[in-house]
């Protein structure tokens, strides 16, 4: 490191235990060890340090020398400082007063195992309660909106739908198209061996329409829109904009969260239909590449995919859209204060959403099986 006109030299200790310090001693020139262990081994227990060669000394340097004396004492050496130039005495005394002052408060002790498990459980329960109460709030606002639809903020619903769903169209369709392509390709490899490659159409069709189109759309929206909701609302919260909202007599749940949630809920099924179509096109492309005409894929689909497949997929997408919106907004509005709160709210929103989508999808699978849809 560059040490502009700063140098610091140490000589000794000699046989009498005298160390000579000279030059400029500050934070940048102070060495990690004034006396390396190798030298200390040979040194007598009573050490003297001659400071008369110090050209300058700042508070960092003085503190350094004083703490060094303490640490040497712990190792069984006594160190006496001699010959401090008079003009450095005020600085020396200032540093000394501080070290003699009351010690600073020790850091809080880390929690024990049971305490931290308990704390974690309470935090989890509190988190769950927050989510349920927020869900309740949103449902009650939704009820109010159904009774008096003209009170809704339909302008912002349209804005959000435009910004977070329409703009998500290209990426969602591309992902769905590629997944349809991969799915068809992998299964075609296998099925061609049995001569049943015509059924690739059914496999791709049912997987995309019942499961994958819906799931992919929900996950893309989580990453694109749910996270945006969390970070927007969390930064509004840390800027006290949410407080300003409340004190104006507005409700963040009704006026900020509900339009976002509604937009996502209503637009997700539409986006899902398009994603399904893209996925099917991907499958069709593979079918055509192994020698089936364009129409064959769709005729096969018409035989085996019925309206209930379509309905289950779209019903799920409605629920997923609602979930992504609710969790995204909840994480934002319940964010903590502080610089890391926005990032944390966004991360937690995305993680919770992906988890919720996976759990809901499993529940739906069981439900539809039992209902025989």
């Amino acid at each position: 490191m560059a040490r502009p006109k700063g140098y610091f030299t140490i000589a000794g200790p000699d046989r009498e235990g005298l160390v000579r310090l000279a030059g400029t001693l500050n934070a940048l020139t102070a060495p990690r060890r004034l006396l390396p262990p190798k030298l200390l081994k040979k040194a007598p227990p009573n050490l003297h340090a001659d400071l008369s060669g110090l050209a300058s000394l700042d508070l960092n340097g003085a503190t350094y020398l004083l703490t060094l004396r303490e640490s040497l004492r712990a190792q069984g050496f006594t160190l006496v400082y001699l010959g401090l130039p008079p003009r450095l005495i005020p600085i020396w005394n200032l540093a000394k007063e501080n070290l003699l002052g009351e010690p600073s408060a020790p850091p809080p002790a880390p929690l024990g195992f049971f305490a931290s498990v308990g704390k974690g459980l309470f935090a989890f329960a509190g988190d769950l309660r927050d989510q349920v109460s927020f869900l309740g709030e949103i449902i009650s606002h939704l009820g109010g909106l159904i009774l008096r639809p003209w009170t809704g903020r339909w302008g912002s619903v349209l804005n959000v739908a435009n910004g977070s769903v329409v703009d998500a169209l290209p990426v969602t369709c591309l992902v769905a198209f590629l997944v349809g392509l991969i799915l068809a390709f992998q299964s075609a490899m296998l099925m061609q061996g049995f001569g049943v490659d015509i059924f690739v159409a059914d496999l791709v069709g049912i997987s995309i329409i019942r499961e994958l189109g819906t799931l992919l759309t929900a996950i893309v929206l989580t990453g694109r829109s749910g996270s945006a909701f969390s970070s927007e609302l969390a930064s509004m919260k840390s800027n006290a904009e949410i407080d300003a909202f409340v004190t104006m007599g507005l409700s963040p749940g009704r006026d900020l969260a509900l339009p976002r949630i509604l937009a996502l809920t209503l637009a997700t099924p539409a986006l899902t239909v398009l994603a399904d179509l893209a996925g099917l096109l991907g499958g069709n492309l593979v079918m055509m590449s192994i020698g089936h005409p364009f129409r064959v894929f769709w005729d096969e689909l018409a035989l085996h995919v019925d309206l209930s497949d379509m309905a289950t997929g779209l019903f799920k997408s409605l629920v997923f859209g609602f979930t992504v919106g609710v969790i995204g907004c909840q994480r934002g509005l319940y964010a903590a204060h502080g610089p890391s709160a926005v990032g944390e709210a966004t991360t937690r929103g995305v993680v919770t959403n992906i988890l919720a989508i996976a759990i809901l999808d499993s529940l739906f699978a069981v439900l539809f099986y039992v209902l025989n849809w």
């Binding site: 502009p4 400029t24 940048l28 102070a30 990690r32 508070l59 503190t63 408060a105 850091p107 502080g338």
Partner: protein, 259 residues
């Protein structure tokens, strides 16, 4: 300077801060400040004054090397800071800065905030770093708050903690951006006292950007008054001179606005 050590031959020592023909401008806009030349002498508290929007903060960003001026030189202790990346890196260890908001790192407690420059740039052992950081917090009256997070203390305390952090490497030059903005008169007065104490006891040169009249009269030794119309220094001198004797209409407007 009271110290007569051989390392500080007064005549040859360059001033802590000197600018030569500095031009402050954004993008293609006409410059905010033109041909700006001034210096801060060792040990003085230099005020950079001016109404909002006259380019004080933009000037500060160039003085500390955050942005490159369109033209002109900034010299810290005689070394042009924009000469090379290495010169800029060296310059950054020669001054401390307190930002208007404090700009403490929110995830670190006060002790860790103040220790950070020492941990990064010094090879002192951890015990010495902790003792030294505690001392800096003690100097600004924050003993007992070492383990507090910045979010848990008041705005005035955050500014003092920011001064402690700027003091960590004990630079001989400190920049303060609006130290008393947003503080109540009592807290602002305490902060002013702290600045004067530090300047006198540790022989630190302060460059203070401010528009608080009370604070100007309490701490500033010499001031330059920036003016939008003049695109540069409208008046220069002690606060008393600027307030009472300066012929400059900008100085009259600035100092007498609420009289």
């Amino acid at each position: 300077m009271s110290s007569t050590g051989k390392t500080t031959p007064d005549a040859a020592t360059p001033p802590p801060l000197e600018t030569l023909g500095l031009v402050v401008a954004y993008e293609d806009d006409p410059p905010l400040l033109e041909n700006l030349s001034f210096r801060a002498e060792a040990g003085e508290i230099l005020g950079i004054l001016g109404p909002s929007g006259c380019g004080k903060s933009s000037l500060l960003r160039r003085l500390v090397g955050l942005e490159i001026p369109r033209a002109g030189e900034v010299k810290l202790f005689g070394e042009e800071i924009f000469a090379s990346p290495a010169a800029l890196a060296r310059a950054r260890q020669k001054f401390g800065i307190m930002y208007q908001s404090g700009a403490l790192f929110g995830d670190l407690n006060l002790l860790a905030n103040v220790s950070l420059p020492l941990v990064e740039f010094s090879s002192m052992p951890p015990a010495a770093i902790e003792a030294s950081a505690t001392l800096k917090l003690d100097l600004v009256g924050l003993r007992g708050f070492e383990r507090h997070l910045p979010s848990a203390i008041s705005g005035g305390m955050r500014k003092r903690a920011a001064i402690a952090r700027a003091l960590a490497l004990e630079p001989k030059l400190m920049f303060l951006d609006e130290p008393s903005a947003g503080l109540d008169p009592i807290t602002a007065g305490d902060l002013d006292e702290l600045i004067v104490t530090l300047a006198r006891n540790l022989e630190i040169t302060f460059v203070v950007i401010t528009h608080e009249l009370r604070s100007i009269h309490r701490i500033v030794d010499r001031a330059i008054l920036l003016d939008r119309g003049a695109r540069g220094i409208a008046a220069e001198g002690t606060p008393q001179f600027l307030a009472l004797e300066s012929p400059s209409p900008a100085a009259k407007a600035f100092f007498l606005r609420d009289a």
